[in-house]
Each structure stands twice: as structure tokens, then as C-alpha cells.
Symmetry: C2
Subunit: 295 residues, 2 copies
């Protein structure tokens, strides 16, 4: 069977998704299992990667034991940290394994083999670029001191503005009034929420911020503009003159589009596919005897 | 002995400090014990309040059992939340007890019986005002979504700016370079610190930010100006036209002075005393048969 099938896996922080492809790159079956966080929980990450692959093989009508005869490409955060990528490669049961960063699979999914820049905006925010095959990135430093354009930071900014408006320190708006009402007009309750919350809890406010910004709410516009300014600065830090395209990814990608700088809007492109698509494409390269560089 | 002595206690978040005074208001002895956080740890707060009072009595050459015959005023955060103030009053062994907020004792300490505004800048930041005997305050909502002029927020801003400069998203400076060097020029290590740190850990960077701001460091100036703007907005939210004075308190009070708005600088006054002084003054009022309102 070797040489006929390959497996591409997106080892994500909330779940692993796998796809089995044939030599033409067509997806024959897909699978899903728990999270991969190789830096913080290597053991369970390995279990979930394998489980998603086995499920994909079963979904394709193949036997799960076949994985020991197939090549696999896994994209996962942390693959470029220390020797973690190599460690994961050594511990997995595939016939041959390439572990790459999730930036590599995201770039491949969004841009194919072309050069370009991607910005991902969900609970966090991170930027990556590929130029002449070289990949690098900025941002993605997390909620506390980074991820300036993330849903989590948008939400945190909103709660801060709501409490400042409550204290009459800065001007409120319909949005801050609705947030205060949600917490019974009691700033203590907002503070309690903020101190007990994880980034994804703050990020739940992102859609309502964009909604109010679209209705000319002054505070919402201010919050979104501040985040959009950080996107402009970050894209400018990554871009080079002949960069062909920028793709926005993640749950907030569409919402941010109208707020971008005109220079960046001019080269916006739709992503061709997602991270799993990227992993699948790299797996197809591996199957066809091509090179897939680690990390 | 009743009618001769009274006890004033500053029930603070890091320690309790007590002073025994005579009928003329003179301090005869002082004592110190563990923290009072009545909202989160009522039991230990009561133990520490009593321990500090007993120590003060011993320090004054009196017997600690005397506390059951003396009036006491305790200033502590949370005294105005629900029925906590009353609960503490009921549980303490003094002959009579008044529990007031730390804002009340801080105002009394800084301003005596006069009207005015105080702003306290340490690990956190909070503002209080007294006008015709009425006390109210703003700010103090904590590190995550508040305390905009606190040492903790200054430190957090600095780490954020250092990582942004590392990514070449915004301009760096001598200060961001020195921070990056402290962490081996590895943003991962800064992020690790930020995620493991408490407000007081971030606040340790406040003095170095002011130091660099004094040396014209552009990033330091930007961080301090942002915080100073929030002080201006907060003071404006509290002030009234005939407000006689503003006192700055806390470890960063002196450092902020040159950065204040000219309108506020014009009515700056030195605080007459600290929170323990405020508790002592209120205890003296109680001893002389005056009224000390709860909270």
C-alpha cells in the first residue's frame, strides 16, 4: 500500500483533525480527536494525533493499522521550539513523519506554494509570512502582553471602557451601557468576571463590538480602530514591496476587513484553504517524493 | 481606664498596623501583624487586627487585655461591601468598634477634616474625594481591566512594548532593549514571566520606567504619558470647582508629580499623614465622644 496514501494532520490547540489522501491529493476520509499542545502536554498530544489519523483511515474505509505504512505531515504549534518537533517525529508510529509549525500549514493552506502574508484573528492574533520559501512570523504572544488584535484583547478593552464610563472618567456609549446592564450596573461584578476569565471568555465580546462599531457606536469604533492600527503596524513590519497577497484567517477575519489600511486592502486575497488543507498538501508532496522541511 | 486611651488600626492588604493613643491624640505605642482582607479571609483578618492592637498596647507599656475596655477605629478595604463592616465590628473584642473603609482613613490621614481629593499610586491606583463630609471614589478596579496609573499597568505596558519592539512592530528604545537583554532577547521568556506574574511583579518595573522617562527615553515617556493622561481624566471626574487640594499618595506619588496636568499641579498639597494617622485621628474623635460613621 505504501506510496498510495498519505495523512495530513492539523494538530491544533483545541482538537486534532486528520485527512487521508490518495496519490492525486484527493481526501478519502477525515478524523478528529482531542487537542495537541506538544509543549505543555506531549503525551496526550501524541495520543490525539494518532487517534485522529486512525479515525481518518477508518472513515476512508481502510484499516487503522495501515498508519504504520504511511507517511504523515503534522502541523502544530511549538514544532520549532527546542527539539520538540524531532521528539514528536520520533515518537509517532507513521512510516515517515514530518512535524511542521502550524504557521507552515496555515501558509500552505492559505497561499499554496505562493509567497505572501497571513494574519490570523481569533481568540489570539498572529502574523506569518513566506518569501522565497523562507517562513517567519510575529505576534501571537498571548493575552497578557500581546495579541493586540485578538478577540480576547477586544473584549478586555470593552470591559475596561465600560468600567471607566461607569466612573465617568471617559465617555460611555450604547455599547458600554449594555455591558454595564449585563452585569447589573455593578463594576464589582465585571471585575470579578475579568479576574476569573480566560482569553476565550473575553473573546466572546468581539462580535458585539464589531456589531456596535457598524452602528457608529463611538466606544466600539475606538476599540476596533486601536486593534486595526496594530494590524496595520504588524502587516507593515512583515510586508516587502513585491509581496503578492495578504490573507486574513480566523473567526474575526471578515469583521476586520473594512477597518484595514487601504494599502493592505489592495492586496487582500481569499485564503485557498485552511490549516488542514495545508497539512494535506504537504502530505501530498511527501507522498510524491518531495521534500518537506521540518518546522 | 476607659476614656483615657483609644486604638487606631490600618487593616491593610499586606499588614495590619495599630497605634494606641491617649486622650490628647498622642501615640503611646504601635504594633504590626499580618494582613487584613476581610472579603477574602475574614477569620485571619480578625486575628491580625487583634494581634496588632495587643502589640501596640504592650509597646505602650499597657496590658494587652485592656483592649476590651478601649474604643477602636479600623480602616480596611471592603468595609462598605454588603454587611462586612458590621460583621467585623460584631466580631472584635474592643469596648466599641468602628470599621471604616481604607478610603476614609486615607482621606483623614492626608487631609485631616478638610475637603479634597486623594490619588493613591502603588501596585494599584485609586482615587477618593471628600466634599462636605461626603466620601466617594473611583478607580481601584484591579490589574486586569483597571488601575490604569498603577505600577502594575506601567510594568505590563513596558513588557508589551518590549515584545512589540522585538517584532519591529513599533519603535524600541534604550529601555525596551534593556528589558529584552534582561530576558536574553527571548520574547518567549517575557511571555512566560507575564503569565506567571502577579500585579506586584509587574509593578517592580515602575521605578525604572520613570528613571528612563527622566532620561528622555521615548518609550518610557510614552508609557508614563498614557498613565498620566488617565490620572488627569480621573481627577477631572472627581474634582469640583472649589476643591481646595489634591494629595498624591503611595510609592509612585513623587514620580508622577511632574507629569500631572498644570491645573492639578496648582492645587497639589503634601499629605498631612498616612492611613494609620487617619485611623488614629478617627479613634481620637471616638475617644472624645464624637461620631465616626461606619464605612
Amino acid at each position: 500500500m505504501m506510496g498510495q496514501f498519505a495523512i495530513g494532520i492539523d494538530g491544533g490547540g483545541t482538537s486534532c483533525r486528520a485527512a487521508v489522501i490518495d496519490h492525486s491529493g484527493q481526501v478519502l476520509g477525515t478524523g478528529k480527536a482531542g487537542a495537541a499542545n506538544i509543549l505543555s502536554d506531549l503525551e496526550n498530544s501524541l495520543i490525539h494525533i494518532v487517534a485522529s489519523a486512525k479515525q481518518a483511515l477508518i472513515d476512508a474505509g481502510l484499516t487503522p493499522e495501515l498508519l504504520e505504512e504511511l507517511p504523515a505531515v503534522i502541523g502544530t504549534a511549538g514544532a520549532n521550539v527546542g527539539n520538540y518537533g524531532k521528539k514528536v517525529e520520533g515518537a509517532l508510529p507513521f512510516a515517515s513523519t514530518r512535524v511542521v509549525t502550524d504557521a507552515t500549514t496555515a501558509l500552505q493552506g492559505a497561499l499554496g506554494d505562493a509567497d505572501g502574508v497571513i494574519g490570523a484573528f481569533g481568540t489570539g492574533s498572529v502574523y506569518n509570512a513566506r518569501r522565497d520559501g523562507r517562513i517567519w512570523g510575529i505576534g501571537g504572544w498571548g493575552f497578557v502582553i500581546g495579541d493586540q488584535a485578538s478577540g480576547a484583547r477586544l473584549g478586555r478593552d470593552l470591559l475596561e471602557r465600560a468600567v471607566l464610563a461607569h466612573d465617568k472618567v471617559t465617555a460611555g456609549s450604547a455599547l458600554t451601557a449594555s455591558i454595564m446592564a449585563e452585569y447589573g450596573n455593578d463594576p464589582e461584578r465585571i471585575v470579578e468576571f475579568a479576574h476569573a476569565s480566560k482569553p476565550k471568555d473575553f473573546a466572546r465580546y468581539a462580535p458585539v463590538i464589531f456589531e456596535y462599531a457598524g452602528m457608529e457606536d463611538a466606544v466600539a469604533i475606538d476599540i476596533v480602530r486601536t486593534a486595526a492600527k496594530s494590524i496595520t503596524e504588524s502587516l507593515d513590519a512583515l510586508l516587502w514591496p513585491e509581496c503578492p497577497s495578504i490573507c486574513l484567517l480566523g473567526g474575526l477575519a471578515q469583521a476586520y476587513r473594512p477597518w484595514l489600511d487601504e494599502r493592505h486592502k489592495a492586496i487582500l486575497a481569499e485564503p485557498r484553504g485552511d490549516v488542514l488543507r495545508g497539512a494535506v498538501e504537504l502530505a501530498a508532496k511527501l507522498l510524491l517524493g518531495g521534500e518537506v522541511n521540518r518546522a
